[in-house]
Point group: C2
Chain length 254, copies 2
Protein backbone atom coordinates (compact mmCIF):
# COMPACT_ATOMS: atom_id res chain seq x y z
CA UNK A 1 0.00 0.00 0.00
CA UNK A 2 1.41 3.35 -1.06
CA UNK A 3 1.36 6.16 1.48
CA UNK A 4 0.23 9.63 0.51
CA UNK A 5 3.78 10.87 1.17
CA UNK A 6 5.17 8.22 -1.21
CA UNK A 7 2.77 9.26 -3.95
CA UNK A 8 3.63 12.92 -3.45
CA UNK A 9 7.34 12.16 -3.54
CA UNK A 10 7.05 10.23 -6.81
CA UNK A 11 4.87 12.88 -8.45
CA UNK A 12 7.27 15.60 -7.32
CA UNK A 13 9.95 13.98 -9.50
CA UNK A 14 8.10 15.20 -12.57
CA UNK A 15 9.63 18.58 -11.73
CA UNK A 16 13.28 19.45 -12.23
CA UNK A 17 13.50 21.26 -8.89
CA UNK A 18 12.65 18.10 -6.96
CA UNK A 19 14.76 15.82 -9.17
CA UNK A 20 17.72 17.99 -8.27
CA UNK A 21 16.76 18.21 -4.61
CA UNK A 22 16.35 14.44 -4.18
CA UNK A 23 18.89 13.31 -6.80
CA UNK A 24 16.30 10.95 -8.27
CA UNK A 25 14.30 10.55 -11.45
CA UNK A 26 11.65 8.25 -12.90
CA UNK A 27 11.87 5.54 -15.52
CA UNK A 28 8.49 4.22 -16.51
CA UNK A 29 7.36 1.37 -18.73
CA UNK A 30 7.72 -2.41 -18.50
CA UNK A 31 10.26 -2.67 -21.27
CA UNK A 32 12.61 0.05 -20.07
CA UNK A 33 12.33 -1.13 -16.45
CA UNK A 34 13.25 -4.69 -17.46
CA UNK A 35 16.25 -3.31 -19.36
CA UNK A 36 17.17 -1.14 -16.39
CA UNK A 37 17.23 -4.14 -14.05
CA UNK A 38 19.64 -5.93 -16.36
CA UNK A 39 21.69 -2.87 -17.35
CA UNK A 40 25.35 -2.78 -16.36
CA UNK A 41 25.25 1.04 -16.36
CA UNK A 42 25.51 3.59 -13.58
CA UNK A 43 21.78 3.67 -12.75
CA UNK A 44 20.84 2.44 -9.29
CA UNK A 45 17.19 1.57 -8.64
CA UNK A 46 16.00 3.04 -5.35
CA UNK A 47 12.45 1.80 -5.59
CA UNK A 48 10.54 -0.31 -8.07
CA UNK A 49 6.75 -0.33 -8.37
CA UNK A 50 5.08 -3.13 -10.27
CA UNK A 51 1.41 -3.58 -10.93
CA UNK A 52 -0.16 -6.62 -9.27
CA UNK A 53 -0.96 -9.48 -11.59
CA UNK A 54 1.49 -8.45 -14.31
CA UNK A 55 4.34 -10.79 -15.07
CA UNK A 56 7.38 -9.01 -13.70
CA UNK A 57 10.93 -9.57 -12.61
CA UNK A 58 11.69 -11.61 -9.51
CA UNK A 59 11.14 -9.68 -6.31
CA UNK A 60 14.08 -7.69 -5.04
CA UNK A 61 14.26 -5.63 -1.85
CA UNK A 62 13.45 -2.50 -3.89
CA UNK A 63 10.37 -3.97 -5.57
CA UNK A 64 6.82 -3.50 -4.36
CA UNK A 65 3.61 -4.66 -5.95
CA UNK A 66 0.84 -2.07 -6.04
CA UNK A 67 -2.71 -2.01 -7.38
CA UNK A 68 -3.65 -0.71 -10.83
CA UNK A 69 -5.38 2.21 -9.10
CA UNK A 70 -2.23 3.10 -7.21
CA UNK A 71 -0.16 2.81 -10.39
CA UNK A 72 -2.50 5.29 -12.06
CA UNK A 73 -1.88 7.74 -9.24
CA UNK A 74 1.91 7.69 -9.55
CA UNK A 75 2.16 7.30 -13.33
CA UNK A 76 2.70 10.24 -15.64
CA UNK A 77 1.47 8.27 -18.65
CA UNK A 78 -2.08 8.25 -19.95
CA UNK A 79 -1.97 4.44 -20.15
CA UNK A 80 0.35 3.21 -17.37
CA UNK A 81 2.26 0.15 -18.49
CA UNK A 82 2.62 -1.37 -15.03
CA UNK A 83 6.21 -0.66 -14.05
CA UNK A 84 7.81 2.45 -12.61
CA UNK A 85 11.25 2.83 -11.10
CA UNK A 86 12.64 5.60 -8.92
CA UNK A 87 16.28 5.82 -9.96
CA UNK A 88 19.24 7.60 -8.41
CA UNK A 89 20.76 10.26 -10.66
CA UNK A 90 24.30 8.95 -11.16
CA UNK A 91 27.29 11.15 -10.56
CA UNK A 92 29.51 10.30 -13.49
CA UNK A 93 32.65 12.35 -14.14
CA UNK A 94 32.87 13.88 -17.63
CA UNK A 95 34.90 11.47 -19.77
CA UNK A 96 36.96 13.00 -22.55
CA UNK A 97 36.59 11.74 -26.13
CA UNK A 98 38.88 8.85 -27.11
CA UNK A 99 40.58 8.06 -30.41
CA UNK A 100 38.66 5.70 -32.67
CA UNK A 101 35.16 6.66 -31.53
CA UNK A 102 32.41 8.90 -32.82
CA UNK A 103 30.70 11.43 -30.52
CA UNK A 104 27.85 13.92 -30.71
CA UNK A 105 27.89 17.34 -29.05
CA UNK A 106 24.55 19.14 -28.62
CA UNK A 107 24.62 22.93 -28.34
CA UNK A 108 21.43 24.15 -26.67
CA UNK A 109 18.97 21.46 -27.73
CA UNK A 110 15.88 22.48 -25.75
CA UNK A 111 13.10 20.09 -26.71
CA UNK A 112 12.95 16.91 -24.58
CA UNK A 113 11.57 14.90 -27.51
CA UNK A 114 14.43 15.99 -29.76
CA UNK A 115 17.03 15.29 -27.11
CA UNK A 116 15.65 11.83 -26.38
CA UNK A 117 15.29 10.98 -30.06
CA UNK A 118 18.91 11.99 -30.67
CA UNK A 119 20.00 9.65 -27.85
CA UNK A 120 18.03 6.84 -29.48
CA UNK A 121 19.82 7.57 -32.75
CA UNK A 122 23.17 7.73 -30.99
CA UNK A 123 22.56 4.22 -29.71
CA UNK A 124 21.63 2.93 -33.18
CA UNK A 125 24.69 4.48 -34.83
CA UNK A 126 27.13 3.44 -32.10
CA UNK A 127 27.96 6.93 -30.84
CA UNK A 128 30.28 6.47 -27.85
CA UNK A 129 28.87 9.38 -25.81
CA UNK A 130 26.83 12.55 -26.16
CA UNK A 131 28.15 15.86 -24.81
CA UNK A 132 25.46 18.42 -23.98
CA UNK A 133 25.97 22.13 -23.35
CA UNK A 134 24.64 23.18 -19.93
CA UNK A 135 21.68 24.99 -21.57
CA UNK A 136 20.39 21.77 -23.15
CA UNK A 137 17.21 20.28 -21.78
CA UNK A 138 17.74 18.03 -18.76
CA UNK A 139 18.33 14.35 -19.49
CA UNK A 140 16.12 13.32 -16.57
CA UNK A 141 13.04 15.21 -17.78
CA UNK A 142 10.35 12.47 -18.05
CA UNK A 143 9.70 13.32 -21.71
CA UNK A 144 13.39 13.01 -22.55
CA UNK A 145 13.71 9.69 -20.73
CA UNK A 146 10.58 8.42 -22.49
CA UNK A 147 11.71 9.35 -25.99
CA UNK A 148 15.12 7.69 -25.59
CA UNK A 149 13.20 4.38 -25.65
CA UNK A 150 15.85 2.82 -23.43
CA UNK A 151 18.91 4.36 -25.09
CA UNK A 152 19.50 6.36 -21.89
CA UNK A 153 20.78 3.06 -20.44
CA UNK A 154 23.38 2.62 -23.16
CA UNK A 155 24.60 6.08 -24.24
CA UNK A 156 26.51 8.15 -21.67
CA UNK A 157 25.55 11.83 -21.59
CA UNK A 158 27.95 14.45 -20.24
CA UNK A 159 26.86 18.02 -19.55
CA UNK A 160 29.81 20.33 -20.10
CA UNK A 161 30.57 23.65 -21.83
CA UNK A 162 31.31 22.80 -25.47
CA UNK A 163 33.86 25.48 -26.41
CA UNK A 164 36.63 24.20 -24.09
CA UNK A 165 35.74 20.59 -24.91
CA UNK A 166 36.17 21.22 -28.64
CA UNK A 167 39.26 23.32 -28.13
CA UNK A 168 40.98 20.43 -26.38
CA UNK A 169 39.64 17.76 -28.71
CA UNK A 170 42.24 15.89 -30.74
CA UNK A 171 39.65 14.13 -32.92
CA UNK A 172 38.24 15.67 -36.13
CA UNK A 173 35.53 18.19 -35.17
CA UNK A 174 32.61 18.76 -37.56
CA UNK A 175 29.33 20.63 -37.15
CA UNK A 176 26.00 20.80 -38.92
CA UNK A 177 25.09 24.21 -40.35
CA UNK A 178 22.21 25.49 -42.48
CA UNK A 179 24.20 27.78 -44.74
CA UNK A 180 27.79 27.67 -45.89
CA UNK A 181 29.98 24.65 -45.40
CA UNK A 182 30.38 21.45 -47.34
CA UNK A 183 27.66 19.25 -48.81
CA UNK A 184 27.56 16.17 -46.60
CA UNK A 185 27.23 13.96 -49.70
CA UNK A 186 30.39 15.32 -51.30
CA UNK A 187 32.98 14.97 -48.62
CA UNK A 188 34.92 12.26 -46.85
CA UNK A 189 33.50 11.66 -43.39
CA UNK A 190 35.88 10.13 -40.83
CA UNK A 191 34.93 7.12 -38.73
CA UNK A 192 35.98 8.90 -35.54
CA UNK A 193 35.39 12.41 -34.32
CA UNK A 194 32.97 14.87 -32.81
CA UNK A 195 29.79 16.02 -34.59
CA UNK A 196 28.21 19.21 -33.23
CA UNK A 197 24.48 19.90 -33.62
CA UNK A 198 22.84 23.20 -32.72
CA UNK A 199 19.76 24.63 -31.11
CA UNK A 200 16.33 24.14 -32.74
CA UNK A 201 15.99 27.73 -33.94
CA UNK A 202 19.41 29.36 -33.52
CA UNK A 203 21.66 26.55 -34.71
CA UNK A 204 25.17 26.38 -33.27
CA UNK A 205 26.17 29.38 -31.13
CA UNK A 206 28.94 31.70 -32.37
CA UNK A 207 31.16 30.80 -29.45
CA UNK A 208 31.01 27.10 -30.29
CA UNK A 209 31.13 27.59 -34.07
CA UNK A 210 34.59 29.13 -33.74
CA UNK A 211 35.94 25.75 -32.70
CA UNK A 212 34.44 23.84 -35.63
CA UNK A 213 36.88 23.65 -38.55
CA UNK A 214 34.65 21.50 -40.80
CA UNK A 215 31.06 22.66 -41.31
CA UNK A 216 28.64 20.34 -43.05
CA UNK A 217 25.22 20.98 -44.47
CA UNK A 218 22.46 18.69 -45.66
CA UNK A 219 21.41 19.77 -49.14
CA UNK A 220 17.77 20.70 -49.79
CA UNK A 221 15.89 19.64 -52.91
CA UNK A 222 12.93 22.03 -52.89
CA UNK A 223 13.03 25.78 -53.03
CA UNK A 224 11.11 27.38 -50.17
CA UNK A 225 11.59 24.43 -47.84
CA UNK A 226 12.46 25.83 -44.48
CA UNK A 227 14.80 23.76 -42.38
CA UNK A 228 15.07 20.34 -40.82
CA UNK A 229 14.19 19.39 -37.28
CA UNK A 230 17.43 18.86 -35.29
CA UNK A 231 16.68 15.18 -34.60
CA UNK A 232 16.05 14.45 -38.29
CA UNK A 233 19.23 16.35 -39.20
CA UNK A 234 21.10 14.26 -36.62
CA UNK A 235 19.68 11.11 -38.23
CA UNK A 236 20.86 12.05 -41.70
CA UNK A 237 24.30 13.05 -40.46
CA UNK A 238 24.85 9.96 -38.32
CA UNK A 239 23.74 7.73 -41.22
CA UNK A 240 26.16 9.53 -43.54
CA UNK A 241 29.10 9.11 -41.14
CA UNK A 242 28.37 5.40 -40.76
CA UNK A 243 27.48 4.63 -44.38
CA UNK A 244 30.86 3.18 -45.31
CA UNK A 245 31.34 1.08 -42.19
CA UNK A 246 30.21 -2.53 -42.02
CA UNK A 247 26.93 -2.66 -40.06
CA UNK A 248 25.98 -5.38 -37.60
CA UNK A 249 24.95 -8.69 -39.13
CA UNK A 250 21.21 -8.56 -39.74
CA UNK A 251 18.59 -10.76 -38.22
CA UNK A 252 16.88 -13.27 -40.47
CA UNK A 253 13.64 -12.28 -42.18
CA UNK A 254 10.70 -13.10 -39.88
CA UNK B 1 -13.30 43.05 -29.62
CA UNK B 2 -13.73 39.28 -29.55
CA UNK B 3 -17.08 37.93 -28.42
CA UNK B 4 -17.29 35.04 -25.99
CA UNK B 5 -18.88 32.95 -28.75
CA UNK B 6 -15.91 33.72 -31.05
CA UNK B 7 -13.44 32.65 -28.41
CA UNK B 8 -15.36 29.46 -27.73
CA UNK B 9 -15.54 28.69 -31.44
CA UNK B 10 -11.79 29.12 -31.91
CA UNK B 11 -10.93 27.08 -28.82
CA UNK B 12 -13.33 24.34 -29.95
CA UNK B 13 -11.12 23.84 -33.02
CA UNK B 14 -8.47 22.30 -30.79
CA UNK B 15 -10.71 19.22 -30.84
CA UNK B 16 -11.09 16.94 -33.84
CA UNK B 17 -14.85 16.66 -33.36
CA UNK B 18 -15.35 20.39 -33.86
CA UNK B 19 -12.80 20.65 -36.68
CA UNK B 20 -14.84 18.08 -38.54
CA UNK B 21 -18.17 19.69 -37.62
CA UNK B 22 -17.10 23.18 -38.76
CA UNK B 23 -14.66 22.14 -41.50
CA UNK B 24 -12.08 24.52 -40.06
CA UNK B 25 -8.71 24.36 -38.36
CA UNK B 26 -6.14 26.71 -36.81
CA UNK B 27 -2.76 27.87 -38.07
CA UNK B 28 -0.87 29.83 -35.48
CA UNK B 29 2.37 31.79 -35.55
CA UNK B 30 3.48 34.93 -37.41
CA UNK B 31 5.75 33.12 -39.82
CA UNK B 32 3.31 30.41 -40.88
CA UNK B 33 0.45 32.93 -41.14
CA UNK B 34 2.53 35.19 -43.42
CA UNK B 35 3.35 32.19 -45.58
CA UNK B 36 -0.30 31.16 -45.58
CA UNK B 37 -1.37 34.58 -46.88
CA UNK B 38 1.06 34.28 -49.78
CA UNK B 39 0.55 30.56 -50.42
CA UNK B 40 -0.93 29.52 -53.75
CA UNK B 41 -2.32 26.34 -52.15
CA UNK B 42 -5.83 25.21 -51.40
CA UNK B 43 -6.06 26.85 -47.96
CA UNK B 44 -8.69 29.59 -47.63
CA UNK B 45 -8.43 31.93 -44.63
CA UNK B 46 -11.81 32.42 -42.99
CA UNK B 47 -10.62 34.69 -40.22
CA UNK B 48 -7.29 36.20 -39.30
CA UNK B 49 -6.44 37.49 -35.82
CA UNK B 50 -3.43 39.74 -35.38
CA UNK B 51 -2.14 41.22 -32.18
CA UNK B 52 -2.32 45.00 -31.97
CA UNK B 53 0.98 46.78 -32.38
CA UNK B 54 2.74 43.94 -34.16
CA UNK B 55 3.87 44.55 -37.71
CA UNK B 56 1.51 42.46 -39.79
CA UNK B 57 0.20 42.04 -43.27
CA UNK B 58 -2.02 44.70 -44.84
CA UNK B 59 -5.59 44.53 -43.56
CA UNK B 60 -7.92 42.28 -45.50
CA UNK B 61 -11.64 41.76 -44.89
CA UNK B 62 -10.76 38.61 -42.90
CA UNK B 63 -8.23 40.33 -40.64
CA UNK B 64 -8.98 41.70 -37.21
CA UNK B 65 -6.62 43.28 -34.71
CA UNK B 66 -7.09 42.09 -31.15
CA UNK B 67 -5.36 42.82 -27.85
CA UNK B 68 -2.52 40.73 -26.41
CA UNK B 69 -4.94 39.61 -23.68
CA UNK B 70 -7.46 38.42 -26.24
CA UNK B 71 -4.74 36.64 -28.22
CA UNK B 72 -3.78 34.79 -25.06
CA UNK B 73 -7.36 33.61 -24.68
CA UNK B 74 -7.60 32.11 -28.19
CA UNK B 75 -4.02 30.86 -28.51
CA UNK B 76 -3.05 27.30 -27.80
CA UNK B 77 0.62 28.22 -27.42
CA UNK B 78 2.33 29.05 -24.14
CA UNK B 79 3.92 32.11 -25.77
CA UNK B 80 1.46 33.38 -28.41
CA UNK B 81 3.33 34.81 -31.38
CA UNK B 82 0.65 37.32 -32.35
CA UNK B 83 -1.03 35.76 -35.39
CA UNK B 84 -3.72 33.11 -35.61
CA UNK B 85 -5.76 32.11 -38.65
CA UNK B 86 -8.97 30.13 -38.84
CA UNK B 87 -8.63 28.17 -42.08
CA UNK B 88 -11.14 26.21 -44.09
CA UNK B 89 -10.27 22.51 -44.40
CA UNK B 90 -9.85 22.11 -48.16
CA UNK B 91 -11.64 19.37 -50.04
CA UNK B 92 -8.96 18.12 -52.37
CA UNK B 93 -9.58 14.97 -54.43
CA UNK B 94 -6.96 12.23 -53.97
CA UNK B 95 -4.41 12.68 -56.78
CA UNK B 96 -2.71 9.52 -58.01
CA UNK B 97 1.10 9.32 -58.13
CA UNK B 98 2.69 10.52 -61.38
CA UNK B 99 5.76 9.27 -63.21
CA UNK B 100 8.99 11.07 -62.35
CA UNK B 101 8.11 12.00 -58.78
CA UNK B 102 8.87 10.61 -55.35
CA UNK B 103 6.09 10.02 -52.80
CA UNK B 104 5.76 8.91 -49.20
CA UNK B 105 2.99 6.68 -47.89
CA UNK B 106 2.41 6.56 -44.13
CA UNK B 107 0.78 3.47 -42.68
CA UNK B 108 -0.76 4.27 -39.31
CA UNK B 109 1.58 7.03 -38.08
CA UNK B 110 -0.17 8.09 -34.87
CA UNK B 111 1.98 10.76 -33.27
CA UNK B 112 1.24 14.33 -34.40
CA UNK B 113 4.87 15.38 -33.92
CA UNK B 114 6.13 12.51 -36.07
CA UNK B 115 3.54 13.18 -38.77
CA UNK B 116 4.35 16.89 -38.89
CA UNK B 117 8.09 16.29 -38.85
CA UNK B 118 7.75 13.86 -41.77
CA UNK B 119 5.86 16.53 -43.73
CA UNK B 120 8.67 19.00 -43.03
CA UNK B 121 11.16 16.42 -44.33
CA UNK B 122 8.98 15.74 -47.36
CA UNK B 123 9.18 19.43 -48.22
CA UNK B 124 12.98 19.48 -47.84
CA UNK B 125 13.48 16.40 -50.00
CA UNK B 126 11.00 17.45 -52.69
CA UNK B 127 8.45 14.70 -52.08
CA UNK B 128 5.51 15.40 -54.42
CA UNK B 129 2.79 14.29 -52.00
CA UNK B 130 2.24 12.23 -48.86
CA UNK B 131 -0.39 9.49 -48.76
CA UNK B 132 -1.71 8.67 -45.30
CA UNK B 133 -3.72 5.62 -44.29
CA UNK B 134 -7.06 6.56 -42.70
CA UNK B 135 -5.76 5.49 -39.24
CA UNK B 136 -2.95 8.04 -39.33
CA UNK B 137 -3.21 11.02 -36.99
CA UNK B 138 -5.24 13.92 -38.42
CA UNK B 139 -3.29 16.50 -40.42
CA UNK B 140 -5.28 19.34 -38.85
CA UNK B 141 -4.41 18.41 -35.27
CA UNK B 142 -2.76 21.61 -33.86
CA UNK B 143 0.39 19.69 -32.90
CA UNK B 144 0.73 18.25 -36.39
CA UNK B 145 0.23 21.64 -38.04
CA UNK B 146 2.77 23.17 -35.65
CA UNK B 147 5.48 20.59 -36.26
CA UNK B 148 5.22 20.89 -40.05
CA UNK B 149 6.77 24.36 -39.62
CA UNK B 150 4.90 25.58 -42.71
CA UNK B 151 5.44 22.49 -44.87
CA UNK B 152 1.68 21.84 -44.65
CA UNK B 153 1.35 24.71 -47.16
CA UNK B 154 3.64 23.03 -49.69
CA UNK B 155 3.19 19.26 -49.40
CA UNK B 156 -0.22 17.82 -50.38
CA UNK B 157 -1.50 15.11 -48.02
CA UNK B 158 -4.06 12.56 -49.20
CA UNK B 159 -5.83 10.22 -46.78
CA UNK B 160 -6.60 6.98 -48.56
CA UNK B 161 -6.36 3.23 -47.92
CA UNK B 162 -2.82 2.24 -48.89
CA UNK B 163 -3.31 -1.32 -50.16
CA UNK B 164 -5.39 -0.36 -53.23
CA UNK B 165 -3.16 2.68 -53.85
CA UNK B 166 -0.03 0.53 -53.95
CA UNK B 167 -1.74 -2.20 -55.95
CA UNK B 168 -2.55 0.28 -58.71
CA UNK B 169 0.79 2.11 -58.50
CA UNK B 170 2.95 1.93 -61.62
CA UNK B 171 5.99 3.50 -59.91
CA UNK B 172 8.58 1.47 -57.97
CA UNK B 173 7.17 0.71 -54.50
CA UNK B 174 9.57 0.38 -51.55
CA UNK B 175 8.99 0.19 -47.82
CA UNK B 176 11.05 0.57 -44.68
CA UNK B 177 11.23 -2.53 -42.47
CA UNK B 178 13.14 -3.38 -39.30
CA UNK B 179 14.06 -6.95 -40.20
CA UNK B 180 14.65 -8.63 -43.53
CA UNK B 181 14.97 -6.72 -46.75
CA UNK B 182 17.88 -4.93 -48.36
CA UNK B 183 20.45 -2.65 -46.72
CA UNK B 184 19.56 0.86 -47.89
CA UNK B 185 23.27 1.60 -48.43
CA UNK B 186 23.78 -1.35 -50.75
CA UNK B 187 21.05 -0.95 -53.32
CA UNK B 188 20.14 1.31 -56.19
CA UNK B 189 17.38 3.71 -55.16
CA UNK B 190 15.25 5.13 -57.96
CA UNK B 191 14.57 8.85 -58.31
CA UNK B 192 10.84 8.23 -58.61
CA UNK B 193 8.53 5.98 -56.66
CA UNK B 194 6.59 5.38 -53.49
CA UNK B 195 8.26 4.89 -50.10
CA UNK B 196 6.09 3.32 -47.40
CA UNK B 197 6.74 3.97 -43.70
CA UNK B 198 4.93 2.18 -40.90
CA UNK B 199 3.39 2.74 -37.52
CA UNK B 200 5.58 3.78 -34.54
CA UNK B 201 5.41 0.43 -32.78
CA UNK B 202 3.91 -2.05 -35.27
CA UNK B 203 5.70 -1.00 -38.45
CA UNK B 204 3.95 -1.59 -41.77
CA UNK B 205 0.72 -3.63 -41.51
CA UNK B 206 0.60 -7.09 -43.10
CA UNK B 207 -2.08 -6.00 -45.53
CA UNK B 208 0.07 -3.16 -46.85
CA UNK B 209 3.34 -5.13 -46.74
CA UNK B 210 1.96 -7.58 -49.29
CA UNK B 211 2.05 -4.83 -51.89
CA UNK B 212 5.67 -3.81 -51.26
CA UNK B 213 8.06 -5.71 -53.53
CA UNK B 214 11.24 -3.97 -52.33
CA UNK B 215 11.81 -3.84 -48.58
CA UNK B 216 14.61 -1.66 -47.26
CA UNK B 217 16.20 -1.50 -43.85
CA UNK B 218 18.52 0.98 -42.20
CA UNK B 219 21.48 -0.93 -40.77
CA UNK B 220 22.26 -0.63 -37.07
CA UNK B 221 25.79 -0.27 -35.71
CA UNK B 222 25.34 -1.19 -32.06
CA UNK B 223 24.06 -4.44 -30.64
CA UNK B 224 21.12 -3.96 -28.32
CA UNK B 225 20.01 -0.71 -29.92
CA UNK B 226 16.28 -0.87 -30.20
CA UNK B 227 14.77 0.83 -33.20
CA UNK B 228 14.56 4.22 -34.83
CA UNK B 229 11.79 6.76 -34.44
CA UNK B 230 9.69 6.79 -37.63
CA UNK B 231 10.52 10.43 -38.42
CA UNK B 232 14.27 9.83 -38.09
CA UNK B 233 13.94 6.68 -40.24
CA UNK B 234 12.06 8.78 -42.81
CA UNK B 235 14.91 11.31 -42.74
CA UNK B 236 17.58 8.70 -43.41
CA UNK B 237 15.56 7.09 -46.18
CA UNK B 238 14.65 10.34 -47.94
CA UNK B 239 18.29 11.48 -47.78
CA UNK B 240 19.41 8.14 -49.24
CA UNK B 241 16.92 8.38 -52.14
CA UNK B 242 18.05 11.92 -52.97
CA UNK B 243 21.79 11.46 -52.40
CA UNK B 244 22.66 11.05 -56.08
CA UNK B 245 20.50 13.87 -57.39
CA UNK B 246 21.84 17.41 -57.79
CA UNK B 247 20.60 19.51 -54.85
CA UNK B 248 19.47 23.13 -55.07
CA UNK B 249 22.26 25.68 -55.41
CA UNK B 250 23.32 26.68 -51.91
CA UNK B 251 23.15 30.09 -50.37
CA UNK B 252 26.39 31.96 -49.75
CA UNK B 253 28.02 31.65 -46.35
CA UNK B 254 26.65 34.37 -44.06
Amino acid sequence: MLSKANIQHIKSLEHKKFRQEYGEFIMEGRKIVMELINAPGPFRIKKLYLEEGLPGPAMTPEAEYISAKEMERISSQTTPSGALAVVEIPKVPVALPQKGYLYLALDGVRDPGNFGTILRLADWFDIAAVYASPDCVELYNPKTVQSTMGAILRVPVHYTPLAPLLEGCSLPVTGSVLVGGTDINNTHLPSEGMIVLGNESQGISHEVLEHIPVRLYIPAYRRGSESLNVATAAAIICAAFRRNLPPLPTQPDI
